[in-house]
Symmetry: C2
Amino acid sequence: MTERAPLSRPRVLRAAVDLADEIGIDAVSMRRLALELGVVPMALYKHVANKDDLLEGMVDTLLGELEPPLTDAHWKTAVRERVLSARRALQRHPWARQALESRTTKTPTVLGYMDSMIGMFLAGGFSADLTHHVMHAFGSRMWGLTQEIFDDSATPSPPPDEATFAQLAAAFPNVANMAVSASHDPDSVVGDGCDDQFEFEFALDLLLDGFEALKERGWSSRLARG
Amino acid sequence: MTERAPLSRPRVLRAAVDLADEIGIDAVSMRRLALELGVVPMALYKHVANKDDLLEGMVDTLLGELEPPLTDAHWKTAVRERVLSARRALQRHPWARQALESRTTKTPTVLGYMDSMIGMFLAGGFSADLTHHVMHAFGSRMWGLTQEIFDDSATPSPPPDEATFAQLAAAFPNVANMAVSASHDPDSVVGDGCDDQFEFEFALDLLLDGFEALKERGWSSRLARG
DNA sequence: ACCTGAACACCGTTCAAGT
DNA sequence: ACCTGAACACCGTTCAAGT
């Protein structure tokens, strides 16, 4: 678009993020990105080492947009708000989940986020030991990411016809029962399946309450391992 | 290998699974797979619609290997054992996580697994409403998958030198503290970071205990939404 | 009707030739 | 020294030509 500004790593990454938002992460190629920037493909290699580095930079760009943590709040509030705020930011970029989860290297931005979250637990009175396990149990939900294989909100884009549904219901009665009861719940959006945000907060609070209970019980991995 | 047996969908999928185990999922291409089977690439298209269908079939093949659920066990035991058994099966195929999570379509095998798991909760006295939310909260951990962005067991393949570590520790004191305390724990494998299986079971039991508490409290989404 | 070689429209990245 | 066009070694998939 602004094809004549000089290339720089931030500008390349920003363009890549915008392009991924527009055409999806799978369609983002070095060549396509170069085209978008009005530049020859090889010019990108001055600013990113390779495609993997590009991906990493894109993730970092996104994480750089996250709101800073609350200070002086109870650990539970601080963690909860941080996670929900990260969720709001990442949800604007549907490809973020895949990109974040496929990256294994921890950039400074990633480490910074984790560091501040660990800090919240420690400040809240969690032992280092418990904090460690709690961080593992938190998993990628710490980033506000939903971790479901089966997204039933996306399931029946075309609602199945009667016969197909009957067949499905016969083979998988419990799944059918669940789908029907979810649709019949007046609080959920009929047809659209589930309320993602409600489900996320349900799981988040379940975890946070669990963490709290362990802390208050004085849980330690040494005791747990017997 | 057994290049002269006639091609069939199961044989194609089995070969793809073995190939993925061997060279990694990213290196599995239609062309590479065809080579492995001693066949021209286009011959595969008689048995799989396209590469996406191949991936789906590979996942299904894996899930077909899962042990059947326990019968006549307490819901918590039944769910726990099923998940841990799925974990054992999927861990033999490191690419399974990515493949499962990138698939959005629910094959009969996937639906069958979910159906039986829903059935375990219902049989255990969970309401349909609670079961629904519990399944969402369970997420991909239901498949025995670990859902962590930050795999600290894989982190320091080359242990960082003193100076690098000091620099890291200065920037991310809490992360450093966590890493050190984990390494100093005599029960954990020093240097190798964390015990994945322990962390998985920790999170699993945290969730199961949380589910149980909600059930006993008579939790309902109607109450929760106020 | 079945099968398949060649072709199409892409990839990421190397490298040597140009300025 | 910097930049880049062409080339290399791949992709998934279409399609027309062969049997």
